[in-house]
């Protein structure tokens, strides 16, 4: 016995929702692709096969892969520590992990400038070793890892908490080692949540702008990721170029949304039954 809202209320609210999402989300998305192709396919191809454009794509891929790799290692170990063991300071630890979510990307960039920049006490040592962090690729990678830091562990922790420790304890008592327990018992449970975390992490990594913008120094063809390259093109009034490179990221965003929906559906159907 479900009480339905009257058709007029229902229709109006669905109308408002659809109109709002169409204007706020779909319009900007379609407009990117439309502007990218407005001056024809040749204009688009010329823009995305430009030497600097290709280099920015290459750098984005490298930075994303590295950030995701670090976060996979961290996410898996941390989720394991946070859910399988009890220790003092656990709540503090998980608050610390979530911290990057609430820090403005500009501040994320700033803290790395303060850590590795010219005024830092580390600077002379790094300089002697010939390591450049700020205004170079390592800084971009560090900032990207920072802003995507909680994504993987956050997805896995709730699933592992729901699973409990019984199975792992049984396996441990039967003599299984940590890696064996992880591979044969824990991982099958978290497979979808883990993949979902990786998807979220890659999405944010390839699109990060603020933090990377602080750290890159904007050396064209050297330290420009795709979002930074888009900024340069846009500010140089090369709108076709800016929107052409953007359209690649739009396609990636749509693929990520689709993957997200499939993975979320899978992990839900498995754990909320």
């Amino acid at each position: 016995m479900k009480r339905e809202d009257p058709a007029i209320v229902k229709g109006t609210l669905i109308g408002i929702t659809t109109a709002f999402l169409a204007v706020m989300l779909v319009l900007p998305l379609v407009y990117v692709v439309y502007t990218a192709f407005r001056s024809g396919l040749e204009g688009f191809l010329a823009a995305v096969t430009d030497k600097y454009a290709l280099h920015s794509i290459y750098l984005t891929v490298i930075v994303t892969l590295m950030a995701v790799a670090v976060n996979i290692v961290f996410g898996l170990y941390t989720a394991w520590v946070l859910t399988k063991f009890s220790f003092r300071g656990k709540r503090f630890l998980s608050a610390l992990i979530d911290l990057p979510l609430t820090v403005s990307p500009i501040i994320a960039g700033l803290i790395f400038v303060l850590t590795f920049g010219r005024q830092s006490f580390l600077y002379p040592y790094l300089n002697e070793l010939g390591i450049k962090v700020i205004f170079a690729v390592p800084g971009i990678v560090l900032a990207t890892v920072f802003v995507t830091f909680p994504f993987i562990s956050r997805e896995i922790v709730p699933v592992l908490n729901a699973q409990g420790r019984d199975e792992d304890e049984a396996a441990a008592l039967m003599g299984a080692g940590a890696f064996q327990i992880f591979r044969e018992i824990t991982f099958p449970h978290i497979k979808w949540a883990f993949l979902y975390g990786v998807v979220l992490c890659s999405a944010r990594a390839m699109g990060e702008f603020g933090a990377v913008s602080v750290l890159s120094g904007h050396l064209r063809g050297k330290t420009n990721t795709m979002p930074l390259y888009i900024e340069i093109l846009y500010q140089g009034y090369d709108f076709t170029g800016a929107f052409a490179v953007s359209s690649i990221l739009v396609v990636m965003a749509i693929l990520i949304l689709i993957a997200r929906n499939i993975l979320e559906h899978r992990s839900k159907s498995r754990y909320l039954r």
């Binding site: 407009y31 700033l110 940590a178 603020g210 965003a253």
Partner: protein
């Protein structure tokens, strides 16, 4: 490690060690360097910097636009969550899947698209220019970009609660003679209020720190449309680290206050989800 209770599961030492090492390198040490650096500033300098008229103006821009955008998101988010939970209609799954788009789309891409659409020569900007309304390079433009960024927060915060309060209470209220609106106001709304406030504060915190999608549409005119994160950015570009650090600390403080409020309402919201289940 001394406070650890015995667990039969092996691997604590190694896992704890690896997590702590990465956490220290990425989060703890950089954040400490912010604290160390700012401790070298005198209180007077700090105060002088954060009360400069241009800095105060940037807080005002950021706080005002974030607040308006989050109010809009709260109202629209409530309607959208209601529609997505309570109604069945064709295309519902697509609308639901779209909500996270602002997370998936790089902020710079959203920024240039919104800016190019709403400048007076752009398709949407031209439409509004007929009525004498400018969007890009004004408060309105900044608010539009922040609404875009904040969309997922309120919807995703209310949805689970609304799914749980389905049914009985409303039936009871209805049978006892409450009208449709009264039922919503007195039965449903109190249940979703903590989730609504949690979503609102989260969106507010996010808008306050947002950079990429806002800078292109903001116009960045000092004293008028310059947001606080951009203030930090321009101080960094002039290598004025003390000023950048002071403004950053003030913003971090604001974010922590907002998040504290968020945590309070978040736990109430999850108590509601848990309690009714």
């Amino acid at each position: 490690m001394s406070g650890k209770t015995k667990s039969v599961i092996p691997g604590f030492g190694l896992s704890f060690g690896i997590s702590m090492t990465i956490l220290s390198l990425i989060v703890v040490i950089p954040l400490c360097s912010l604290v160390v650096y700012s401790s070298q500033l005198s209180m007077a300098d700090f105060w002088e910097i954060i009360t400069r008229p241009r800095v105060l103006a940037s807080y005002k821009v950021s706080l005002t636009t974030s607040f308006i955008a989050s109010i809009i998101n709260a109202v629209m988010g409530l309607i959208m969550a209601w529609v997505l939970v309570r109604y069945e209609f064709p295309g519902k799954r697509i609308l639901d899947g779209m909500i996270e788009l602002p997370f998936a789309l790089p902020t710079a891409v959203a920024g240039i698209s919104l800016a190019h659409l709403t400048v007076s020569s752009g398709p949407v900007g031209a439409l509004f220019a007929n009525f004498g309304i400018d969007i890009a390079y004004t408060y309105t433009g900044i608010t539009v970009a922040m609404v875009f960024v904040g969309i997922p927060f309120v919807v995703r915060s209310i949805q689970p609660v609304l799914e749980k309060v389905e049914g009985e209470y409303e039936e009871a209220a209805f049978i006892m003679g409450a009208g449709r609106f009264e039922t919503f106001r007195r039965v449903v709304f109190p249940e979703i209020r903590p989730a609504l406030i949690a979503g609102f504060t989260m969106a507010f915190a996010r808008c306050l720190g947002e950079y990429g999608s806002v800078v292109f549409i903001a116009g960045n005119k000092p004293y008028e449309t310059e947001i606080a994160p951009l203030m930090i950015m321009s101080e960094l570009q002039e290598f004025d680290y003390p000023a950048a650090t002071s403004v950053a600390l003030t913003m971090l403080l604001m974010a922590f206050v907002i998040l504290f409020v968020n945590a309070v309402f978040q736990s109430r919201a999850s108590a509601i989800v848990g309690g009714i289940r």
